[in-house]
């Protein structure tokens, strides 16, 4: 009891997965404490879903080790304490929402006497109470994703994996999911949030790891990651060669008229402006701001590529 209770929600050491000659995950080492909302970021194909599937025992690691709630991955009893919303969410269309959740209560397995309350609470949390007795086949994508989230919540899990949990949701739904995630954290549930929606991660996560090409390229709290300044400049009159020369000011997100230097010391702004003018550019606006997660993310990927 003592060791397992004190153990982190997730702990991995050099977790590696290869599919033939392709490295899907290269030596993932990380620790997610209990009750923390952990964001796992990365571009498509970076290895995010592979990581979740490895942790849940759906894939077997090529090498390395990992523990969930203090027990080695693949341990059946530990899965009673885990919830999972897959990226590819699909539920039995021929069952109604209440029956799908009852199925998950049964497989969890929860005592039958608690099902009614668990199902009602989960439906209420995701806002599907009104559709509880409707067949899942009549649900929209967004409603099915809500149902998947409800299924992940039954049994008050200690650790929840959410793989792109808002991919099918409208802005209201996304807001609801953020509130649900915060609620989970408040009651001590650790949340592993896989996402490429950076603003969403930025708003809810305590800590994040950025993964690319199967490797973690940065990790830390939001404050640790977003310590720099980004500078956005509105310019005209710069040709391609001039823009290339601006690379001296660090990673650049070039959106035509708007250039964002994703990490630039505020003291270098006058030098940047004079350089742009010297290169024949006309500056209309300069706005320094704290780095957003998107700035940092693009900066990290830029550094990784170079």
């Amino acid at each position: 009891m003592g060791v397992a209770a004190a153990a982190p929600a997730i702990h991995t050491v050099d977790l590696t997965k290869r599919f033939g000659s392709t490295i899907a995950l290269a030596g993932l080492s990380m620790t997610v404490p209990r009750g923390e909302i952990f964001g796992f970021l990365g571009p498509n194909g970076a290895g995010k879903t592979t990581s979740v599937k490895l942790l849940l025992g759906l894939l077997k690691p090529t090498s390395g080790e990992a523990w969930l709630l203090g027990e080695p991955i693949g341990d059946l009893a530990t899965r009673r304490r885990i919830g999972y919303l897959p990226e590819l969410f699909r539920y039995q269309g021929w069952l109604d929402a209440r029956e799908v959740l009852a199925l998950h209560c049964e497989l969890a397995p929860l005592p039958r006497s608690s099902w009614k309350e668990e199902i009602a609470a989960a439906l209420d949390t995701v806002g599907l109470t009104d559709r509880a007795d409707d067949r899942v086949s009549t649900f929209s994508k967004g409603m099915q994703q809500r149902l998947g989230l409800a299924a992940a919540l039954v049994g008050k899990p200690e650790l929840v994996f959410l793989d792109e949990p808002t991919s099918a949701l409208d802005p209201v739904g996304r807001h609801d999911v953020r509130e649900i995630i915060r609620g989970l954290s408040d009651r001590g549930t650790a949340v592993f949030l896989n996402s490429h929606l950076l603003s969403e991660v930025e708003q809810v996560c305590d800590r994040v790891a950025v993964v690319d090409h199967g490797r973690v390229i940065a990790s830390g709290t939001m404050d640790e990651l977003l310590s720099g300044t980004a500078v956005k400049v509105r310019v005209s009159g710069l040709d391609d060669s001039a823009r290339t020369r601006l690379a001296a000011f660090g990673p650049l997100d070039d959106e035509g008229e708007h250039l964002t230097f994703t990490k630039l010391d505020i003291e270098r702004v006058p030098e940047l402006v004079s350089t742009i003018v010297a290169l024949g550019g006309r500056v209309y606006e300069v706005s320094p701001r704290h780095q957003t997660l998107e700035d940092r993310f693009l900066q990290l990927l830029h550094e990784e590529d170079s």
Binding site: F89, L95, L103, A108
Partner: protein, 287 residues
């Protein structure tokens, strides 16, 4: 409820809610109705002298027609088992339906056995139900009943279960449509190989006989079908076939002897092997 029974219940429930059972029941009732009408017509056939056929002759004709009708039932059962078993696991892996369930404290062996069990219940109920209806209708129409009705149901059900088991193995790795088609082709090939074996017996050619024997070992559906045929053959037909010697055996709709005990023992082992292979294949599959 243990996960095995949860998955078995889900499989039965899905077939019921998707109206597969209803479709089978309606089609079966139609076939039973038409065949009862047809069998009844045999009793009214008159000879050139205006008299109706004697009861023994009606029974003989009925027994042989019943074998052909049972072949249709076994075909429907085999086709249904293959088509339903083919996508049983693969479609749920491809769609992602199994992902959230496999993240629960569920062993993959429990998924495989549960799904097999659910479909096996359906196959057995269909075999028993359709046989009961058809034999009752035939008995009502002609007064004939086959010599071994219980064995008949068991052999036909076992044939369906064999196709289901093959479909399930394929379903752990191949897409539903591919697995279903392979299972169907295998069933037809096994039947044809059985006919080739019969011809070998008729011609006393051991090479051809071996084709039949090997096919019975690889996929025992044809061997089981012969068991069903034997269960329907009246003594008088058996005596005539035996009198015809080896030539009497060269016919896929006849059986002179019941399936050997060694074959039946092999069938039990074969089912065990198929289930073991399905479990191993699914357990080692990365999802």
């Amino acid at each position: 409820m243990p996960p095995v029974f949860v998955f078995a219940r889900l499989t039965v429930q899905e077939s019921s809610r998707r109206r597969l059972l209803l479709a089978l029941v309606i089609l079966t009732l139609l076939v039973v109705g038409f065949s009862a009408w047809g069998f009844n017509k045999i009793t009214t056939v008159t000879r050139s002298d205006g008299t109706v056929l004697p009861h023994d002759q009606v029974s003989l004709i009925t027994s042989q027609l019943l074998i052909v009708i049972t072949f249709m039932y076994s075909g429907v059962l085999a086709l249904s088992a293959a088509v339903v078993a083919g996508p049983l696991i693969s479609s749920e892996v491809e769609s992602g339906l199994l992902l959230s369930m496999l993240a629960r404290p569920v062993r993959r062996s429990e998924v495989v056995i549960g799904k097999w069990l659910g479909l096996a219940i359906l196959v057995t109920i269909y075999a028993a139900g359709s046989a009961l209806l058809e034999l009752t209708a035939v008995n009502w129409a002609t007064g004939y009943e086959p010599p071994h009705p219980v064995e008949l149901v068991l052999y036909v059900a076992a044939e369906g279960l064999a196709l289901l088991s093959l479909g399930l193995v394929l379903s752990t790795r191949l897409s539903g449509i591919t697995g279903g088609v392979i299972a169907l082709v295998a069933w037809l090939m096994a039947w044809i190989a059985g006919v080739v074996g019969d011809i070998g017996t008729g011609l006393q050619n051991s090479a051809l006989q071996n084709v039949g024997t090997i096919s019975h070992l690889l996929l025992p559906t044809d061997g089981l079908w012969r068991g069903a045929v034997y269960a329907m053959e009246p003594d008088v037909i058996l005596a005539a076939l035996r009198a015809a010697g080896t030539a009497g055996r060269a016919n896929p709709f006849s059986a002179v002897d019941p399936p050997p005990t060694a074959f039946l023992a092999w069938v039990v082992v074969w089912f065990g092997l198929m289930l073991t292979l399905s479990i191993w294949s699914f357990r080692t599959r990365e999802i």
